[in-house]
């Protein structure tokens, strides 16, 4: 049952991401990307990480995408007639590099037989926070410092010039 859900959600993620990166209207691309992140949150839940799924919805789909939307609307980039997508000349290096990576990956995976594992591992918030704060306490401190620096930097860049 969970396998079917995983493959459905994977298809939704792939289609939404493909539509997002080929959409030339930036606001539509953001909305497609939010759909993709919701489906990815479902995949995280199926993989036994409910806390990460919740954070994905709250932080990615809720905060970061809305931040992108604010900036796009603030810079007045929403007109589709002014938007100009990449030409074929700009697409082919991307397609070439992507094809190289995909072919290398498939050549790697063809040689390995996929192993099927039974069971359902589920990490609750208690276990997650025990590992997070006992084993990786220094990482939490570093993250908090990094967020503080990002806040100060964003405030500095966004200030109004005094006359």
């Amino acid at each position: 049952m969970e396998q079917i859900f995983f493959y459905i959600l994977a298809a939704v993620v792939l289609i939404a991401t493909l539509l997002a990166i080929t959409e030339r209207h930036a606001v539509h691309a953001i909305v497609y990307l939010a759909t993709s992140f919701f489906a990815l949150a479902g995949i995280f839940y199926l993989l036994g990480a409910p806390l990460i799924a919740v954070f994905e919805v709250i932080i990615y789909a809720g905060a970061i995408m809305v931040l992108f939307l604010f900036v796009i609307m603030m810079l007045d980039m929403g007109q589709p007639e002014k938007a100009r997508g990449p030409s074929l000349k700009q697409w082919w290096p991307a397609l070439l590099l992507g094809a190289v990576i995909l072919v290398a990956m498939s050549a790697l995976f063809v040689t390995n037989v996929p192993e099927t594992l039974a069971g359902w591992s589920y990490t609750d918030a208690r276990e997650f926070s025990r590992v997070l704060f006992r084993k990786y306490g220094v990482a939490v401190e570093v993250i908090s410092l990094q967020l503080l620096f990002a806040l100060v930097g964003a405030l500095y860049l966004g200030r109004r010039k005094l006359p």
Binding site: L14, I21, L47, F55, I64, P93, L95, Y136, L157
Partner: protein, 102 residues
């Protein structure tokens, strides 16, 4: 683990390639470059969570939380810089910002 780790890694690889193609093909547009970086970091998070589910370790989820914090700080800084550059030159085209003291 409900599906083989290989399938999770293949999915993460395809999403990563999509993000890379977005960042390369839209290299004139600063916003779309940032969106491509977002997609690539999401693929990395998926690989971490899949590995953590495969080996029954919580560490993968901790690392994806770290990636999430990294992404949020990176996006806030980069978008404020986009707003700053747009205030200077009224465009988000990356070709316009080729010199340091523009």
């Amino acid at each position: 683990m409900i599906v083989p780790l290989t399938h999770v890694l293949i999915l993460a690889g395809i999403i990563f390639v999509m993000g890379l193609a977005c960042a390369i093909a839209w290299r004139n547009n600063l916003i779309m470059i940032l969106i491509g970086i977002e997609i690539m970091l999401n693929a990395a998070m998926l690989a971490f969570v899949g590995g953590g589910a495969h080996w029954r370790l919580v560490d993968g989820q901790v690392f994806s939380l770290v990636i999430m914090a990294l992404t949020s700080s990176e996006v806030s800084l980069a978008l404020s810089m986009v707003v700053y550059l747009h205030r200077r030159k009224k465009t988000v085209s990356a070709d316009e910002f080729s010199e340091m003291k523009g």
